[in-house]
């Protein structure tokens, strides 16, 4: 009863605080939109590609692709100079039957555009090659058929001569074998090896799609952490917490009241963020969207408990803000936005105490791989452990303000 009353009150206060509400709902959407505009500009990126010793056909195919400009260079040194001078974004060099691709890669979207254009061009040329190969094999087939006809005629002419028959069969088998070898020869020619080189970074540079699920969790965590922490801090500094504790209310009712109200808020926020990312940013959600909301809700409750706990160590709103670089920002580093595999073992160890890592892992799996929420038991379990421990600490911690 009291828990519900506290929840109602907190929600009422939040709804009337329009600016904070706007911060919670509009800010994440605005930032995500901005990020998607900034990171996903492939469609309109103009790229300049330098080619060395590439067939005219491939050059032509690439040049025909929109937003791609092809410049031919005589030597690789010339092309490299151009790359350094930022005249071109990538070099394609034919090495015998293989291709060497060098990307400036200072702009991952351009790299992606070149890769795409090159792939298309190669496919187009190989389709041409395939066509000619097909033509060849059809002529081969025609020949075979002609030979067969001749054979049949021969058979008809000398049905009695058994030896002649055997010779004809042998000849037919030989021609067949010949035609197959020409066919295999032509296919082996069509798969050139492509080697990618990057001047800066590697193939993983720039991956907004990978960031999105984690970013979503980050926004939920950040805003719930900050606003709930501030709210309890305000209760403490204005004296309403003392007054609240001067009534027979249980300490746990206060904590649970806050959890319920911010839980509701977090659900709305998550749903909104998911909808925006799906509809506006065109993110593909392979798995179940409800699962995404559920995991973000648990994360929000962890953030809430965390915010309330840390607010007890702050004496002013500004001191609460000081926890952002200490508590919130490091979460991003270990959340999986930056691949953890490449980190030293002891650094990796830190990630195990970062709630955002677990939610990020779970939500990424659900969104990108379509994993069921029931297969994310471990991540959810860890998040729940965080939640229970922090909640417990909060209820105990309130003893600071009232001894029972």
């Amino acid at each position: 009863m009291r828990t519900i009353a506290i929840m109602n009150r907190v929600l009422k206060e939040l709804i009337r605080d329009k600016r904070t509400l706007a911060l919670m709902f509009v800010a994440p959407i605005l930032i995500m939109l901005l990020m998607s505009v900034i990171f996903n500009t492939n469609s309109t990126t103009d790229v300049n590609v330098g080619t060395v010793a590439v067939t005219r056909k491939l050059n032509q195919e690439m040049g025909d692709i929109k937003h791609v400009d092809v410049k031919t260079y005589d030597t690789k040194a010339d092309a490299k100079q151009a790359l350094q001078d930022e005249k071109i974004d990538a070099i394609i060099k034919k090495n015998g039957n293989n291709y060497d691709l060098t990307y400036a890669n200072t702009d991952s979207s351009k790299t992606a555009a070149v890769k795409m254009a090159f792939k298309n061009a190669v496919t187009a040329t190989s389709i041409d090659q395939l066509k000619s190969a097909l033509k060849k094999s059809t002529t081969g087939m025609a020949k075979l058929q002609a030979q067969l006809m001749v054979m049949q005629k021969q058979q008809a002419a000398s049905t009695t001569a058994a030896t002649g028959n055997a010779a004809a069969a042998k000849q037919a088998a030989a021609t067949k074998a010949k035609s197959t070898t020409t066919a295999t020869k032509s296919t082996s020619q069509k798969t050139p090896k492509i080697t990618n080189h990057y001047v800066y970074g590697d193939k993983d540079t720039g991956y907004f799609a990978k960031m999105l699920p984690i970013l979503m969790g980050f926004f939920v965590f950040f805003f719930v952490f900050l606003i709930s922490g501030m709210a309890l801090l305000k209760e403490r500094t204005t004296g309403t917490l003392d007054r609240l504790l001067a009534t027979p209310v249980k300490r746990s009712s206060i904590v649970f009241g806050y959890m319920l109200s911010y839980g509701i808020l977090a659900v709305i926020q998550t749903v909104l963020i998911v909808l925006v990312t799906v509809w506006l940013l065109g993110m593909e959600v392979v798995g179940n969207m409800v699962s995404v909301v559920v995991i973000n809700l648990i994360l929000a409750l962890v953030a809430l408990a965390f915010g309330i706990l840390l607010s007890t160590f702050a004496n002013s709103e500004f001191q609460m803000m000081q926890f952002i670089p200490l508590v919130v920002i490091p979460q991003i580093f270990f959340s999986g936005i930056i691949p953890l595999d490449s980190m030293a073992d002891w650094v990796k160890g830190i990630s195990y105490i970062i709630p955002l890592k677990y939610s990020g892992d779970a939500v990424s799996d659900i969104i990108m791989r379509g994993t069921s929420i029931f297969d994310e038991g471990w991540n959810i379990l860890v998040l729940l452990v965080f939640l229970v421990v922090l909640t417990f600490l909060n209820i105990i911690g309130m003893k600071r303000y009232r001894k029972v």
Binding site: K12, E13, T238, R243, A246
Partner: protein, 240 residues
């Protein structure tokens, strides 16, 4: 003698190395108003916090309603008003009253009558629908008092209740406090306004963590050989 609502005996309280209360002996009986006066930092608020169970005494005993504090359930029988207004600015006066009413455990059926009564006492009935953010300082103070009055608590603990309230309303509030006393309920009140101390039944003079004097205002004046409580206060401080 009437039943002791608050009974503090040889109470001591330390915060770290700092001893705030050394030896506090204070009783508040049913049907009386006890004033607690003393300079800033004398420990008035600490006495109140111990009585409410927000702090635990390091020595001596603190009993309220014959029960050792802290005790959460007893808080429902007390009304507390802090020095700060402690209100939710984004809520209306009525919503504030209702919220704290629920917290105090007032039954739903009685709620409306309780709110109307408490608001009437502090003369806020007309402004109940307004948001607290738009209240004047005096109005906030009155609302804060109204919250303490909710549910007709047997014991009222008021920390400087009349700061920022105009004289006419202050008189009205004291009249109401008098009525509460006459109904057999108890009030512990801290104040800086010395002529208010004259209105109490007994005055405790708190100084350096001790109760220097605790008696009827008239007796105290006689003891110190002065005309007003203010002089008692000054003299006691001077002696110390």
């Amino acid at each position: 003698m009437a039943q002791a609502m608050i009974d503090l005996a040889h109470l001591a309280k330390k915060f770290g190395d700092q001893t705030v209360l050394k030896d506090i002996n204070l009783t508040v009986n049913a049907g009386e108003i006890v004033g607690l006066i003393g300079p800033s930092g004398a420990g008035k608020s600490t006495v109140i916090k111990v009585a409410l169970g927000m702090e635990v005494a390091n020595g001596g005993s603190a009993k309220v309603f014959d029960t050792v504090m802290p005790d959460r359930k007893l808080l429902g029988r007390m009304g507390y008003m802090a020095q700060t207004d402690a209100l939710y600015d984004d809520l209306s006066g009525e919503e504030n009253l209702k919220f704290f009413g629920v917290m105090k455990g007032i039954a739903k059926a009685k709620m409306a009558a309780e709110i109307a009564h408490a608001a009437g006492v502090v003369d806020l009935t007309a402004d109940l629908k307004k948001r607290v953010a738009g209240y004047s300082g005096g109005m906030k103070r009155r609302l804060s008092l109204a919250i303490a009055l909710l549910g007709n608590p047997e014991l009222l603990i008021l920390d400087e209740p009349t700061v920022g309230i105009d004289p006419a309303l202050r008189r009205q509030i004291w009249t109401e406090l008098g009525k509460i006393r006459d109904a057999g309920r108890a009030i512990l009140i801290t104040t800086h306004v010395m002529d208010e101390a004259e209105l109490t039944d007994r005055v405790a003079l708190l100084l350096g963590g001790k109760v220097m004097a605790f008696d009827k205002p008239a007796v105290l004046k006689q003891q110190y050989g002065v005309d007003t409580i203010e002089d008692v206060f000054l003299k006691a401080e001077g002696v110390e």
